[in-house]
């Protein structure tokens, strides 16, 4: 089949940027949309034009590198699917498909469909871990953890850090991402000790990076390729609230936020 890709082209963060249309023939239904971009890029290179920049790595939906807005939806129309797993059989012959980068103040644009998502690392750096050094661990089965708790933790831990939740949110909030890590660690007995401080530090960093506030719209969980449930945000709010009562004198200082594309 044949499709038209309408792609956001922008040389760098100083450039103004614009949509450019490209016709792609010989599209196979089995191709992923990234493979469709590969085909386009091969032809652009041979024509002496600059190929479209987009992030990708594992191409099996787990590394979180890929992602752009496809026809207005982060990662495209399919439920629980990253861009690399979105096959072209979901489009029709003659379709025009619009591709644009994640748009959020906290994700400065690098080039074309690539944005800088280091702000998400900063949120983890601020407190998204259990403070245990190598070699300090007790025997693994010494601490029984019920299957339901382990499953709840795993549901939240499945986050791949792609940033689709931020792109989908009208406020560009990172609440689902942050809540997922707070829930993953906080529901486990190993992670409970630090839960107040973790929530305070991570939320402070989230605000410092310029992510918006959560207004419980729920677009994030709808766009999430790993279907992280919305209750992780409730857990984050609860831990934050408890923490702010108990640790008023001990508020963490945020790390310098991300400001530029590179």
């Amino acid at each position: 089949m044949k499709v038209t890709l309408k792609i956001w082209r922008q040389k760098n963060s100083n450039d103004k940027g614009q949509f450019v249309k490209y016709a792609v023939d010989d599209v196979d239904g089995e191709m992923s949309i990234l493979e469709c971009l590969d085909v386009l890029n091969e032809s652009l290179i041979l024509r002496g034009e600059v190929p479209v920049a987009f992030e990708h790595d594992c191409r099996e939906g787990i590394c979180g590198s890929c992602g752009f807005v496809i026809n207005g939806v982060a990662h495209g129309p399919e439920r629980a699917t990253t861009a690399c797993q979105l096959t072209m059989r979901h489009f029709k012959d003659g379709d025009e498909i619009t591709l644009e980068p994640w748009r959020a103040k906290a994700f400065p644009l690098v080039k074309d469909l690539v944005v800088n998502r280091r702000a998400l690392d900063h949120i983890i750096e601020a407190g998204g871990y259990i403070s245990v050094g190598t070699g300090q661990a007790p025997e693994a089965n010494g601490l029984p953890i019920g299957k339901e708790v382990a499953d709840q933790s795993m549901d939240a831990a499945a986050c791949i850090g792609c940033g689709a939740c931020v792109a989908a949110c009208p406020n560009a909030a990172a609440a689902l991402f942050t809540g997922a890590k707070i829930t993953h660690l906080g529901v486990l007995p190993q992670g409970e000790t630090e839960k107040d401080r973790r929530a305070l530090a991570m939320v402070a960093q989230m605000n410092a990076e310029g992510f918006g506030n959560c207004t419980n719209i729920g677009e994030c969980t709808g766009a999430c390729p790993k279907e992280i449930p919305l209750d992780v945000i409730a857990k984050m709010n609860r831990d934050y609230l408890c923490g702010s009562f108990q640790r008023r004198d001990d508020l963490p200082t945020p790390i310098t936020p991300v400001v530029e594309g590179a």
């Binding site: 290179i45 790595d57 601020a126 499945a158």
Partner: protein, 637 residues
């Protein structure tokens, strides 16, 4: 050149403890005076950087992705082995050691493997303490499952995303050290050369992938944890960015490359669908716990699988290997699938596929149980193929997955260049000629959490580190080499894209140095690779410039290295006149078609040294001695 593997003397059970005691220590207040470079942020690199940071060293960690959490360890699905013996089914450190040496077809170093088995239990403890949500039983204890090449259940898992969860554990430990200021993380940066000063590895030259800026980083020691080189085949289960450039440039600076021809073809991947295919997707080996592999008994049978009656199906692994059945090691499973497809029994449009059927397990255990065990894998399969594996058997075919070969290291994980350490898949150390499932995660974390923090201290405490200025001739020479290579690639402006060359190179390797190899085919392949490489340097086109994000340029440098590596792989495969593990030379097989080793002549590690751009590499042999596991013809019957 004589290779000293520095294996401690005495009983193998005490070797590691003895080595640790004999190693010189760096006292706590001196640790912060030492700087260490870690290239790669996967399970091995991430865990090493975090652990070294905790010890107080000044660590710089590099990755080419935008964040360390994207390293390809994240894609490992099935699990991680450990000799915990929680199921009480006869597991022990010795059995894990034994299975790994045997699974590797007696081409691994015993002492290394024993240490790996010993460390395995500590890894599980460490990961649980970090909050890795491993699967649990209702009573709250950790769950286990079985994997290929083993008759005990020793594999720990977190759904089908074990690699992701272990990596996030290491990544979080790393971020904690970044926050503490002991580790400086430098992402979107690629190492392009190793700086060797007076025989010691003292730094690296890097290029920033967004700005194109070149940088020099000097340190007291360099650790490479840059993963495997499976992408030399173009189509593999590796991430698109996985490459051999860091280890290859280190090889050209004098590090020996061991057993390059030991590549693993994984039996359960989704078959290729078309020419545009950019990578292959693995379906975890854990599926072989409940899935049964079969092909029709009639050649070229085009009936849909559900219409083929039970007695017209050949469950060939169960038939040929009754005691291991569908859980034979990867090399055996792959080779059997290939043979049957070559004979015309394959299924699917291309005939390159076999069925992996869950109907029996679904009838026995119910769809709900199967969904709980493998739900995400089934979903992934359905997304890619548009077929429902709960109703129709999966079609699978072998694909390049892992490389057992890598830079040669001694027992302390130090390469043949002092001060250059190599961890994880990037080294050759523990898996011999074939890796067992769920052992890669174990090795990466054992190297990073528990081995390197000890052994690097021994190196730092026993060497001197005079200050190296950026103006040092060795530094400037490395920088010039890097720049001129990139300028050259940009200036060719030929008529073919980097990918088109890479595809063709991969096809040559797959055809002549894949699951079955012959002397004649390998010679042919070497000629073809050389011809194609010559064309590459005359006719490749790389668009754009070197001063911004330019993925074609990144790929061009990596493919240039793959050409040279591909040749070395074939040279090694040609030199090893035996079949062992993943290296199957058709000339050397038993009457039943199994791999025929030649222990008398080939029981050694083949370590190749670089001698110059147009001269043959030099072979050094490290003899392998087996005191605890007697080499025998591997039998899974």
């Amino acid at each position: 050149m004589k290779l000293d593997a520095r294996i401690p003397s005495g009983p193998i059970e005490e070797a590691w403890a003895k080595a640790c005691f004999d190693m010189k220590l760096v006292n706590p207040s001196n640790k912060r005076k030492h700087s260490i470079i870690v290239v790669g942020s996967g399970l091995a690199g991430g865990s090493a950087a975090a652990s070294l940071g905790e010890l107080g060293y000044q660590v710089k960690c590099f990755c080419f992705q935008d964040t360390p959490r994207r390293a390809h360890s994240i894609a490992a699905q099935g699990g991680i082995n450990a000799a915990k013996n929680y199921p009480n089914d006869g597991e022990s450190v010795f059995r894990l050691f034994y299975d790994t040496v045997k699974g590797g077809d007696f081409r691994a170093r015993e002492a290394n493997v024993y240490r790996l088995a010993q460390n395995s239990t500590k890894i599980i403890d460490q990961c649980v303490a970090q909050g890795v949500p491993f699967a649990r039983e209702y009573g709250g204890s950790l769950a286990n499952r079985s994997f290929g090449g083993a008759q005990v259940s020793r594999t720990f898992y977190a759904r089908g995303q074990t690699g992701q969860q272990l990596l996030l554990g290491a990544y979080q430990a790393l971020e904690r050290q970044i926050h503490a200021g002991t580790v400086k993380m430098i992402s979107k940066t690629e190492m392009l050369d190793l700086i060797v000063v007076d025989g010691q590895a003292r730094g690296i030259v890097t290029r920033h992938l967004v700005t194109g800026e070149y940088n020099i980083h000097i340190a007291d020691a360099v650790i490479l944890a840059t993963g495997g080189y499976g992408n030399v085949f173009y189509l593999s289960t590796n991430a698109k960015g996985s490459n051999a450039t860091a280890i290859w440039r280190a090889y050209k600076r004098g590090a020996l490359f061991a057993n390059p021809c030991f590549t693993q073809i994984h039996p359960t991947c989704i078959p290729v669908s078309g020419d545009y295919q950019s990578k292959l997707t693995l379906m975890s080996e854990s599926l072989r716990n409940d899935g049964r592999i079969w092909v029709p008994k009639k050649k070229g049978d085009t009936r849909p699988p559900n219409q083929i009656p039970e007695d017209e199906r050949d469950y060939y692994l169960e038939r040929r290997y009754p005691s291991f059945g569908n859980l034979v090691p990867r090399d055996v499973a792959s080779r059997n699938a290939k043979t049957l497809c070559d004979e015309g029994y394959g299924v699917g449009k291309t005939g390159l596929g076999v069925y992996l059927d869950f109907s029996e397990a679904i009838n026995r255990l119910g769809e709900k149980t199967i969904r709980e065990r493998y739900g995400n894998l089934f979903d992934m399969y359905q997304r890619i193929t548009d077929e429902d594996p709960y109703k129709v058997p999966m079609r699978i075919f072998p694909a390049v997955h892992y490389t057992m070969g890598g830079l040669w290291v001694d027992y302390e994980l130090q390469s043949s260049i002092p001060g250059l350490f190599v961890l994880g898949e990037a080294n050759f150390s523990d898996h011999g000629a074939n890796r067992l499932g769920a052992s890669a995660l174990m090795q990466g974390l054992s190297d990073g959490y528990f081995i390197i923090p000890n052994t690097i201290g021994n190196y730092l405490a026993t060497h001197k580190f005079p200050k190296v200025e950026n103006s040092h001739p060795a530094v400037q020479e490395a920088l010039t080499t890097v720049k001129s290579k990139i300028d050259k690639l940009l200036s060719i402006k030929g008529k073919r894209t980097v990918d088109s060359f890479h595809r063709e190179l991969g096809k040559i390797l797959w055809d002549y140095c894949g699951m079955a190899r012959t002397a004649e085919g390998l010679q042919l392949a070497i000629g073809k690779i050389r011809t194609l490489r010559e064309e590459y340097w005359k006719n490749v086109t790389v668009p754009g410039a070197g001063d911004d994000l330019n993925e074609s340029l990144e790929k061009a440098g990596r493919v240039a290295d793959f050409f040279e590596l591909a040749e070395l792989i074939c040279i090694d495969a040609l030199d090893r006149n035996e079949s062992c593990g993943g290296h199957f030379r058709e000339e050397y097989q038993t009457p039943e078609g199994e791999a025929q080793r030649d222990d008398e002549h080939y029981s050694y590690v083949a370590a190749w040294g670089y001698t110059g751009p147009d001269s043959a590499p030099e072979l050094t042999k490290e003899p392998l001695e087996f005191q605890y596991v007697h080499p025998s013809q591997r039998s899974y019957k």
